[in-house]
Symmetry: C3
Subunit: 330 residues, 3 copies
């Protein structure tokens, strides 16, 4: 996570200040004056943080957490140690969104980057980079040597591009780090905030997106793909994974290495895709799923359940490939 | 409708001139010398207009119309009052297209906007607006205060952007009006002509698109969405409705308030979506449908029928959610 | 094929040099010193070329080929005349990719076009063309008279645009030739390399894309479409065919005339679509299929088999329309 770099960060706040901001009253905690420096998932907890527990899935981790406080529900509070102040709420995500907003007041929407400058004026800073025309580069952008950036492309503040990367034209990259040898084709948009908000009839409350997009070595992103940054973890794509055109990768998705993802595929928020996975064109994967290693998903499939390693599935909703064929022949 | 502002308008023409242009002969009308100022749908008729009737669905309105003339078919002519000159044709839409082309000769295709100027030269006109780099603004564009326009974005002539709006980078907006607090992410394209034409083996006849895109307060448009303007009515999106990335909204679609539309959804021409509707990723809605209020449509569904209020549907083609589950288990 | 114009071409090479580059040993050929000028498909063979045979489908052509050498498999070699040196390999496409890379070292990835210049500086070369703002034009670009090019659009080196064409804003066009009266809406990206590579766990081997995009007279390309250029043949779209928004056309696809392709359709690599074909929104067509003339494909369909002329299909996978309806009612 690199949100401290990409997003303006406030704090620390005392636990009391955090609770006041959320309009929550807790009196029996001895930690009300403790300084809280950040909010974090329970798996990747840093020191002096507030965290949250929204599912029993994480109970093995939560029971040993050293978080100062944890936003959770009545029924999940027993999966937390007594040392942790429990903040019992009905809608965990709403309170997480509010606390994130307190720490990262500008991560819930993508303000325009006013640090952008013409690459023509910055060429002394990037002597080993080839630029097209009208390239715009933000503050503190790092670009590795022998990389090329196509015309009209925008690389916003603090983005890091590896060595030997090739970025096409009309690309917008924000809140993103790439390793070396990454290829991004024309028109792709990376690092925008994801589609996360707490619905409200008057005005939806946008979930701050404090995660980034992380592309490993050799990744290829096709023409006009969209890859949203993470909300509270990162969105990441593994080594040597290739995406075809018009693919949409939602926030917090993690894709393994050596995957092939064909055109117009969509992967919804927080799903995890293993290594060596092949996904046919226009397939869709619902949110919060786990797709195993070496899985093959047929074109047009709609995946709504976890898929174990080495499976081949197809259909809407997707089933084992043999069952799909049987059903067709029935 | 604001087509008189966005599109060059010719006329008025006498009814005789209109008929001559369409190569239609009518002799028994006492209105041949009447001046016609515009073409309009029968529900939103203005004075001194020509209209059209293509379905018995509008008979309650049509029977009382005060249109000078109405393009219709032999079988529908009885739904019109005797005061209205009937123009009987085989293909109503083709004649409507021709008459629209007569009045709006440039609305059938998107000519490049030659009034665009660098926002740098126009900053005195927009003292309370933040601009990124290389922003292009057309003639008579209005932008409300505290709005921001991202880099490389194009806002074409006569567009109106509300207050406190945030428009990303690489956006193109034409023939569009937005209310306040609208958020449009990078790469979205709004107000282009829709996919409407009368097929012809030599050269398709493009339907003039004289409607606009109208976005109400608090609307959010995701990265790389496309929203076509209306052909003869407007395309509109209601208050506090949020669209995820790569959504396509076709011409004349009307979406209510507080809707959530996930990634890669497509809504075909002239469909009407109610309030508080949720649509899962990659779902498609056919044209000319009515989706009720509070409807939930599962991801990947293909909707080919109207859906009553408060329903939950899924499948291709979509059925009631309980039936979808039953069928799966069968 | 125009790859000699668009892509840097090496050679000629002797057959011995080609084989050495591929690390293949052949000793019993009398053609090892013959000069090879290019690689070509077997149907469109030019003189002094190397070709390949990967399917018995082409046996009528292959048996009479005058290619110097042919990359093929053990089982297919009998479909070649004795005059042709057989290069027997396990993975024909991998060797084709390698030989293509030898002849066209830069066609496997889209390098940025460093010849681009502001159209403002080139207006003397295009006296009858209207340009928007910030248009970038590459070397040797030809644009026919009375054509217009929208703002921020990029037309890369050697592209040919016909007369009376209208190209919108934010378009990127490379490796493409269009005839007259072509209309391309905002945000479309044409001529990028396709999604073709030989998977390799360390580093996928990209297939050189030496074909182009060819658009015939009167073609319309909707907003934010992506059309990849061919790998070893061209991608082409026939006269008067219209594409709606967000359509993806993969490499080597050939579409006939007078087709209507609705929004978000995807056509996978090397499929051939006949004339007068209608394809509903979000439908997908798998790779290497043949869709006949006058075929109608319902919205959302997934086509995984060839479709004969005059058929109407729907479903996932698509079946004859009557069977689709029957199954629904069952």
């Amino acid at each position: 996570m690199h949100h401290g770099v990409f997003f303006k960060k406030n704090g620390p706040f005392s636990l009391r200040e955090v609770l006041d901001y959320c309009e929550i009253k807790i009196t029996d905690s001895d930690k009300l004056e403790k300084k809280i420096f950040d909010i974090s998932t329970i798996e990747s907890l840093k020191e002096n943080c507030i965290t949250f527990l929204n599912s029993p899935k994480y109970k093995n981790v939560s029971i040993n957490t050293n978080a100062i406080a944890c936003i959770t529900t009545l029924s999940l509070q027993n999966f937390l140690p007594s040392s942790c102040t429990k903040i019992i709420v009905k809608n965990v995500l709403f309170t997480v969104a509010k606390v994130s907003k307190l720490f990262y007041p500008e991560a819930d929407i993508d303000q325009i980057d006013r640090s952008l400058q013409s690459a023509d004026k910055l060429s002394h800073k990037y002597p080993d980079v080839k630029f097209g025309k009208n390239v715009l580069i933000g503050e503190n952008v790092k670009i590795g040597k022998n990389s090329s950036i196509g015309s009209n492309t925008i690389i916003e503040h603090d983005v890091i591009i590896g060595k030997h990367c090739l970025i096409g034209s009309d690309v917008v990259i924000k809140n993103t780090i790439t390793e070396d040898l990454v290829y991004i084709s024309d028109g792709a948009k990376l690092g925008q905030k994801g589609f996360g908000f707490i619905p409200d009839k008057t005005k939806n409350f946008r979930f701050p997106h404090i995660g980034i997009v992380y592309l490993k070595k050799g990744v290829e992103i096709g023409t006009s793909c969209t890859i949203d940054r993470g909300s509270i973890t990162n969105t990441s794509i593994g080594e040597n994974t290739f995406l075809d055109n018009q693919v949409h990768i939602a926030h917090n998705v993690k894709i393994g290495k050596n995957c092939m993802i064909a055109g117009q595929v969509g992967i919804a928020g927080s799903s995890v895709v293993g290594d060596n996975v092949g996904i046919g064109g226009q397939a869709g994967i619902s949110g919060h799923l786990k797709i195993g290693n070496n899985v093959k998903i047929g074109g047009g499939s709609g995946v709504i359940k976890d898929i174990p390693d080495n499976s081949k599935v197809m259909g809407y909703p997707s089933v084992n490939f043999r069952n799909f064929i049987k059903k067709l022949e029935a």
